[in-house]
């Protein structure tokens, strides 16, 4: 398995506050990775570190086998679309394509012009006059046409309405399929990730809680409902993520490798949103008990 993004002990501190701490990640190549977490969890920081826009305070980060943004060759391997999809408002769409052509060694001009035509954008229009969705599409076009191995997108659809959001994501997926890109994109909406990604990283409070294949994640997490009881008395190999109790009933969200055979539990499957929310809401010290294979860290 080749690794497209590897972080070891990665941390970033702004003055007194750690935006990201002790981050250990091995993101496999060829995946579409969703990075989710509440606002302020450190998603942007992690993506900026990976794209070389930030330098780490602690640890190392490696992207496509090199230090981010170190030299022209490394820059060519990684595309980065920053939050709010910035473009030069005084420059036209055509100008942006010239910019891409002149500044990137692997630039695919036919691809870029074809995309702009397909999106129905007028090349003579200034970027400042575009709608949020169109601007996001322009930024994505620049990111794809440089033909990177890895495309990093920071909240690319945060400012878009639901329709533009869906279109953008579909368009991104087509480009991924066509050009065999690895993608890491962040979102604070799990539904965006569920629709498009096959790998998820949950970042809460500047720490990675989960990083795993989405199918594996869904297969290993269940909701157990049964009469009220102490969650400590569960068989080995069953780990409680969250527990809630009413007077008569206990509901557990657990991770387990084996089937739960105890007939007093009703076992039901979970959606990605349930799993992600469980990891987001559980108390911070609970993370200590989970096994290292899930790459949950303190």
């Amino acid at each position: 398995m080749s690794v497209v993004l590897r972080a070891q002990g990665l941390g970033k501190r702004y003055k007194q506050r750690w935006a990201l701490r002790n981050c250990e990640l091995d993101v496999p190549a060829g995946r579409v990775v969703g990075l989710v977490g509440p606002n302020g969890a450190g998603k942007s920081t992690l993506l900026k570190l990976a794209s070389g826009m930030l330098t780490p305070t602690a640890g190392t980060v490696e992207v496509c086998g090199g230090r981010p943004a170190e030299g022209v060759e490394q820059l060519a391997k990684v595309g980065f679309v920053a939050q709010d999809t910035p473009t030069y408002s005084a420059l036209s769409i055509a100008d942006h394509l010239v910019l891409g052509r002149r500044l990137n060694p692997n630039w695919d001009d036919a691809l870029a012009r074809d995309r702009i035509r397909r999106l129905g954008l007028d090349p003579k229009q200034r970027a400042g006059k575009l709608s949020g969705g169109q601007r996001a599409q322009l930024a994505l076009t620049l990111g794809i046409a440089k033909r990177p191995e890895l495309l990093i997108l920071d909240e690319p659809v945060a400012a878009l309405d639901p329709l533009a959001r869906r279109e953008f994501m579909q368009d991104l997926m087509e480009a991924v399929a066509e050009h065999e890109l690895s993608v890491v994109l962040s979102s604070h909406l799990v539904s965006d990730v569920e629709r498009t990604c096959d790998y998820v990283i949950v970042l809460v409070d500047s720490q990675v809680q989960v990083a795993d294949d989405i199918d594996d994640l869904l297969a290993s997490h269940h909701r157990l409902t049964g009469p009220r009881r102490d969650p400590d008395k569960l068989p080995a190999g069953v780990h409680v993520i969250t527990a809630s109790h009413t007077d008569r009933q206990t509901t557990l969200l657990v991770r387990t490798d084996t089937a739960v055979h105890d007939p007093s539990w009703t076992v039901s499957p979970l959606g990605l949103e349930d799993v992600v929310l469980a990891y987001m809401t559980r108390p911070a010290d609970a993370a200590r008990d989970t096994r290292p294979a899930l790459e949950v860290l303190r």
């Binding site: 826009m53 330098t55 022209v72 820059l75 980065f80 910035p86 030069y88 500044l103 692997n106």
Partner: protein, 336 residues
């Protein structure tokens, strides 16, 4: 990268070019007449400059003095601050060009354009003003026009405006990079540049070339003197050295030591009411001279103009280079 830099810069460049061209046209139209007049009347030109040309003289002075400040504020400060403010640096820094080369291209082209703009302006103004400057240096007595070495005119003549512009530009870029917001960076650039432009003539410029020193006798009918600060200070006027820039004055006693003007001089000049008569002043000055007091004047002679120009050019270009190094370090280590 050059294409992008030019594409982002061309509007500002065109505005500046238009302003320089307008000024140059006005100067080109009137300049030959002024030169003819100087050829005809020599140093007494200083009393015969037409009113319109007098305004143009001061306009030219003002323009050359402000061009570097304008460049620092409107070209330098927004160059990176605006990118940081709008987030477009994320777009620029993710293309196949390293951050260092991006900065080097922007700084290099910007500094070259700044020096060209300031150089052309200074060339046009220096050329137009040269008849007046020559008349002043040739001994034309005037309070209306500045000698070329005067702190006000010096920065508006010759090659130093180019160095000032390069420095102001890089200063603006550096402040924009550190402050990260366009308007505060522009204001700070202006304030800092103005402070430096005031400090250099006050404390530094006079040391950039070897000064001349002369000791003038204090006597009626000698070098004209002004009596200042309640007769506690004497300032001598170097009329026989036209175009000089006096950098310091010192009264010496009979032993040749620096000394304050004795209180007897003030006593001598005291009257019941009104100013002392001319005869009284002459008598008091003669008494002071008889006590052995002399006036030492330190000055830069007009002939030092070009050595001072090159020295100050070197100083400002050196500062600009140092700031460039700072920008390169900052953009790699701190803008993160």
């Amino acid at each position: 990268m050059i294409w992008l830099t030019w594409r982002q810069f061309r509007t500002q460049a065109a505005v500046m070019l238009a302003m320089v061209a307008a000024l140059a046209t006005a100067l080109a139209v009137t300049g030959p007449q002024l030169a003819d007049l100087h050829r005809a009347v020599g140093s007494s030109l200083v009393d015969q400059v037409p009113g319109a040309d007098q305004s143009l003289y001061y306009t030219g002075l003002l323009v050359v003095l402000t061009v570097p400040a304008v460049i620092g504020m409107f070209w330098g400060a927004p160059l990176i601050a605006r990118e940081l403010e709008t987030g477009t640096h994320y777009l620029a820094w993710n293309q196949g060009v390293t951050r260092t080369r991006w900065l080097a291209t922007k700084l290099g082209l910007g500094a070259a354009a700044s020096m060209t703009a300031a150089g052309l302006t200074s060339l046009a103004v220096s050329w137009w003003s040269s008849p007046i400057d020559r008349a002043v240096n040739g001994g034309g007595a005037t309070d209306t026009y500045f000698p070329r070495l005067d702190p006000v005119a010096f920065a508006a003549r010759g090659v130093v405006p180019m160095a000032h512009a390069a420095f102001a530009f890089v200063l603006g870029v550096a402040l924009g990079l550190v402050i990260r917001r366009t308007l505060p960076a522009m204001a700070t650039t202006f304030a800092l540049y103005a402070a430096i432009q005031i400090s250099v003539p006050m404390w530094i410029r006079s040391h950039l070339a070897a000064a001349d020193r002369t000791i003038l006798p204090i006597e009626p009918g000698g070098a004209p003197i002004s009596i200042q600060d309640g007769a506690r200070q004497i300032v001598a006027h170097l009329e026989e050295v036209p175009g000089a820039w006096v950098t310091s004055q010192q009264t010496l006693n009979a032993a040749g030591q620096p000394a304050p003007v004795p209180s007897s001089f003030a006593d001598c000049l005291r009257t019941e009411s009104g100013p002392p008569t001319l005869q009284q002043v002459d008598r008091c000055v003669a008494d002071l001279g008889a006590l052995g007091y002399k006036q030492q004047v330190t000055y830069q002679p007009a002939g030092n103009f070009w050595s001072l120009q090159w020295a100050e050019t070197g100083l400002y270009l050196g500062l600009a280079l140092a700031l460039t190094g700072f920008c390169a370090w900052w953009i790699r280590r701190r803008v993160t």
